[in-house]
């Protein structure tokens, strides 16, 4: 059962994708698979939505892509982080941490 609100997921999509790509280059299907797997039911991405996000990140220069042939002979478009992408991810993580602390202070969020 999905429990994360659409707004919350929507605000974190770029970060999630960048986070996956931090582990290494990957392609659209595999990125969605990893995110849905890690989410453990918190939300489920509609798979097609990954491509507009990836293309947007590519335009911003945060990711780069290359076509690569798979062992079965099929071509896949692999995405990987650029230097700017790594910096954006670090900055984003920092923002989330600060926001998390703010939520603990103001909204009484208790991790314990």
């Amino acid at each position: 059962m999905n429990w994360a609100s659409k707004e919350l997921v929507g605000a974190s999509t770029a970060m999630l994708v960048l986070g996956v790509l931090k582990q290494g280059a990957s392609y659209g299907y595999d990125i969605v698979r990893q995110i849905n797997e890690q989410a453990e039911g918190a939300f489920t991405w509609q798979e097609g939505t990954i491509y507009p996000i990836l293309h947007k990140l590519e335009k911003k220069g945060l990711v780069q892509c290359r076509w690569q042939e798979s062992p079965t002979g099929r071509r896949r478009k692999y995405y990987s982080l650029t230097v700017e992408g790594r910096a954006a991810l670090r900055d984003g993580v920092r923002q989330w941490e600060l926001f998390d602390q703010l939520m603990i202070r103001l909204a009484g969020v208790n991790h314990a």
Partner: protein, 233 residues
């Protein structure tokens, strides 16, 4: 479990991506990327790597079941209801025809039997007959229009009613005039003739009253048979 999709599956995926590319104006690269995604997804299902969700399973179950609405209609309790002998539309048409035939044949016939032969200028009998035919023309137009009207449509019922109601008034007035025309020589008329005119008047009024009643009480369209097509075949 297949490691690769067969040519038929690949062909279908190519068709989907080509259609998408055409509709959305995608570049060849984008179309290839989306096609690759679909291939990965299909393979993951075949290999059991992706578990089918409840939504997926429901879609599949429904797709494999076939025409759910059609089957539901066949097994519905409605199939056991007796089929109405006549539909509402047929009832109106038959009543309209019976009423039209009775008025067009019997009424002028009765007037001819009991009227005077024309003398000189316009005979009251001729005037009465003309008025009657004019009234009947309007009346039967309304009746037949009502028979063909969409009974669910208030406007169409109203139009049909607008033909019928004034025509009924004309008919009654013409009948009174006709009786007046023949009453000058009433001594020639028999009790049977008078009873015949009275009977015709009653039949006409009853028939048209029945039509008005049918038109004023719209019911669910029963012109569609509730018997499955397979049973009718």
């Amino acid at each position: 479990m297949p490691e690769q999709l067969d040519e038929a599956a690949l062909k279908q995926i190519r068709q989907i991506t080509q259609e998408l590319a055409r509709q959305q104006g995608l570049s060849d690269d984008d179309a290839e990327e989306i096609g690759g995604h679909l291939e990965d997804k299909l393979l993951a299902y075949f290999r059991g790597e992706t578990r089918i969700t409840l939504e997926d399973a429901l879609l599949l179950a429904r797709a494999h079941f076939g025409d759910v609405a059609g089957v539901a209609k066949q097994v519905s309790h409605k199939r056991y209801l007796p089929e109405p002998r006549w539909t509402r539309h047929q009832t109106i048409v038959k009543t309209a025809i019976a009423t039209a035939v009775s008025t067009f044949i019997v009424l002028p016939g009765a007037l001819l039997l009991f009227g005077d032969p024309p003398r000189g200028s316009f005979h009251p009998m001729l005037v009465a007959a003309t008025i009657i035919f004019a009234g009947l023309g309007v009346l039967e137009s309304g009746v037949l229009l009502a028979a063909r009207a969409d009974l669910k449509s208030p406007s169409q019922r109203l139009i049909a009613g607008l033909f019928i109601v004034p025509a009924l008034a004309v008919l009654v007035m013409a009948l009174i005039g006709g009786i007046g025309a023949v009453s000058a020589h009433w001594d020639m008329a028999t009790r049977g003739g008078y009873a015949m005119i009275a009977f015709v008047v009653l039949v006409c009024l009853f028939g048209h009253a029945m039509l008005l009643l049918l038109l004023s009480h719209p019911i669910q369209d029963d012109s569609t048979s509730n018997v499955p097509e397979q049973q009718l075949a």
